[in-house]
């Protein structure tokens, strides 16, 4: 039996999702963004929302998300995605509207927009990629950078007396009455990917059905910024990031889901 007889359509169990564009991604090998993009593309297609979605891209590594997932996109200014999404959803209430933001975008420059959109109970889903570092600009300290973690702006490690504490923003968002579903996930193992996919699907369903603001944090790796191999970055994330940012549901108040 040769490869041609095996590679037939009926034997195909894994392929590029229909809504994931056939192009070269700019993400580094091992980066969590690729997996997150893939499952979002799968979910939008599986939910039949390709013609009913407005996605908001951030500033950061995911600034080019609009090149990869084949739906209508609005690329927001740094940190402003929840404000952009607020108007997109209120003016187009039947649409699935979600933002895709990193930790710098969501928890530093966009903290006000994030908290207020969540507190107003905007019917949007916020996908929050937390890798504890500014990837796009070359590995500077993020609000979620762990204590002691080395970055290009904390070359001797983050010191609380100099740089303040890591901002654990997702539990804060869970406390707001406007959020209906707040969960923390990761995508470093097949089981984690499956769980994260269910979480994002639930968040998207909440947006479509006007149940309030959903937040899905995905604790992620940045092998380039962390200066680790992808495999080592995954292990380091599980050993260190999970201690500060423990995966699991933080709030389930989205009704009869």
């Amino acid at each position: 039996m040769d490869i041609k007889t095996i590679k037939t359509p009926e034997n195909l169990v894994y392929q590029r999702p229909r809504l994931l564009n056939d192009c070269t991604m700019h993400y580094c090998p091992g980066c969590s963004h690729g997996v997150a993009h893939r499952i979002i593309a799968e979910i939008i297609d599986e939910m039949g929302q390709a013609d009913n979605t407005i996605a908001i891209a951030p500033v950061g590594c995911a600034v080019f998300a609009y090149k990869y997932i084949d739906v209508d996109w609005i690329e927001a200014a740094h940190g402003r995605a929840p404000a952009v999404a607020t108007a997109a959803k209120r003016l187009n209430p039947e649409r699935l509207v979600f933002t895709y933001q990193g930790d710098g975008d969501l928890a530093a420059i966009g903290t006000a927009e994030t908290i207020h959109a969540a507190n107003r109970g905007e019917n949007i889903a916020i996908i929050f990629i937390n890798n504890g570092i500014y990837g796009m600009t070359g590995g500077q300290m993020a609000p979620t950078t762990l204590e002691g973690m080395k970055t290009s702006t904390t070359p001797y490690g983050r010191r609380v007396d100099l740089n303040g504490y890591p901002l654990n923003i997702t539990p804060l968002l869970a406390q707001l009455p406007g959020t209906c579903y707040v969960t923390r996930q990761s995508v470093e193992t097949p089981a984690a990917v499956a769980k994260a996919k269910r979480a994002i699907r639930r968040a998207f369903d909440n947006s479509i059905n006007h149940r309030g603001c959903s937040v899905v944090e995905i604790v992620s790796t940045c092998s380039s910024g962390w200066k680790m191999s992808p495999d080592k970055a995954n292990k380091w994330m599980e050993q260190n990031m999970f201690e500060a940012y423990r995966p699991g549901d933080l709030k389930i108040a989205d009704g009869d889901k």
Binding site: A50, D51, N52, T53, I54, I56, A57, V63, F64, Y66, D70, V71, D72, W73, I74, E75, A76, A77, R80, A83, V84, A85, T86, A87, A88, R90, L91, N92, R95, L96, V97, A112, E113, H116
Partner: protein, 379 residues
């Protein structure tokens, strides 16, 4: 014409509804009547009546217009960005310090070639300054304000009626050229109450009309087209230069077609005042007084500040002996008057700062001081 048909004609004719209100309130009424889809704003004196009036009129129950008090001007302008990106007719309003915060968003909106309306009811600056009227944001409005090479259309109302009328005009121009438009008012026009005829109601655009008018919009429903992306990012400099050239080509078209100004007694004028907004009305009174004393002074009031009515200014400048530019600032529009007149005649400036409004007598005194030969010798 028989009686009955005359009655029918009277009944069919739209009744002119004259109301007394503040300029800020007129903006709110006009926005609803134009069929605006959304307003996003943050309170700041002296324009908070725009948001207050909209909330009181609760148009979401009638036309379906969305009204939202945002957490900041940053959020407001980015909500406008988000709404405009989906092809909706959206606006915000603020006053000078708030507009400074919006300049980031305005740069993005201009770069994404999105239509929207921003109202600036100017107050005195810099900094927190004063809540009293000013025209000190002329540079900010007409030269861009945010980063990058961009312009947007700037209309300067001088009456409450124009506050109402310019809402529709701004949206029409914004959609025609895919650019932001700004109503650059000041605390006088915003707070002053005058008679105003409100524009007629027109329905909001349907999704089908938006798809037709805005094929570029990220409406979220690409079923009959390729997905749209609204972005200002282009890392390929060659492409980014092309984008810039496209913006500039639009600006040249606007400069060619949309210069607007109003002349008052310029036909026989030997001297000219150039003033915009509420100050132009004070100048009009000053000119009436000066004419009563035999001085042939005219007024040219730019209605569009960008594009600046350089053709009209150049034409009148070519046949007068001197120009006085009167502004509530330290000398901003005067630069454009000098450029338009190519300094062929002396161009002077008179300005009051910090929220002080000049009276007609002060302007007359300045005219007499600068152009004594215009005033026939006192009897």
């Amino acid at each position: 014409m028989s009686h009955s048909s005359a009655d029918e004609a009277a009944k069919g004719a739209p009744q002119q509804e004259v109301v007394l209100m503040k300029g800020n309130e007129a903006i709110a009424h006009a926005a609803i009547r134009y069929g605006a889809d959304g307003y996003f704003g943050y309170p700041i004196t002296p324009q908070s009546e725009v948001l207050e009036t909209l909330e009181a009129l609760h148009p979401w129950d009638t036309t379906g217009m969305v009204v939202l008090q945002a957490e900041s001007e940053l959020a407001s302008i980015n909500m406008v960005y988000g709404g405009a990106a989906t092809g909706k007719t959206v606006m915000t309003s603020s006053s000078s310090p708030g507009i400074s915060l919006m300049c980031e968003g305005l740069s993005y909106i201009a770069a994404c070639e999105l239509p929207c309306l921003v109202v600036n009811v100017m107050r005195g600056g810099p900094g927190l300054g004063t809540i009293h009227p000013s025209q000190a944001d002329y540079f900010q409005a007409t030269k861009g304000g945010g980063h990058g090479d961009y312009h947007f259309i700037v209309l300067a109302p001088s009456t409450v009626q124009e506050m109402a009328d310019f809402v529709g005009l701004s949206f029409d121009l914004a959609f025609k050229y895919r650019t932001p438009a700004m109503i650059l008012a000041d605390g006088i026009v915003g707070q002053m109450m005058e008679k105003v005829v409100l524009p007629p109601f027109r329905p909001r655009r349907t999704p089908e009309q938006i798809a037709e008018l805005c094929p570029w919009a990220a409406t979220g429903n690409p079923s009959r087209r390729k997905p749209n992306t609204i972005t200002s990012l282009e890392l390929d400099s060659a492409e980014m230069e092309k984008n810039n050239n496209r913006f500039q080509a639009t600006y040249r078209r606007i400069e060619e077609a949309e210069q607007r100004s109003v002349s008052y007694l310029t036909d026989d004028a030997e001297y000219l005042i150039v003033a915009f907004g509420s100050v132009a009305r004070i100048c009009q009174k000053a000119i009436d007084d000066a004419r009563g004393r035999g001085a042939k002074i005219g007024l040219l009031r730019p209605v569009t500040l960008w594009p600046f009515p350089e053709k009209a200014v150049a034409e009148v400048a070519s046949r007068v002996k001197g120009i006085l530019v009167v502004e509530l600032n330290a000398g901003q529009m005067i630069e454009d008057v000098k450029l338009a007149s190519r300094c062929t005649v002396p161009v002077h400036h008179f300005g009051r700062l910090g929220g002080i409004i000049p009276n007609p007598g002060e302007i007359d005194n300045e005219l007499e001081r600068l152009f004594p030969e215009a005033f026939p010798s006192k009897s």
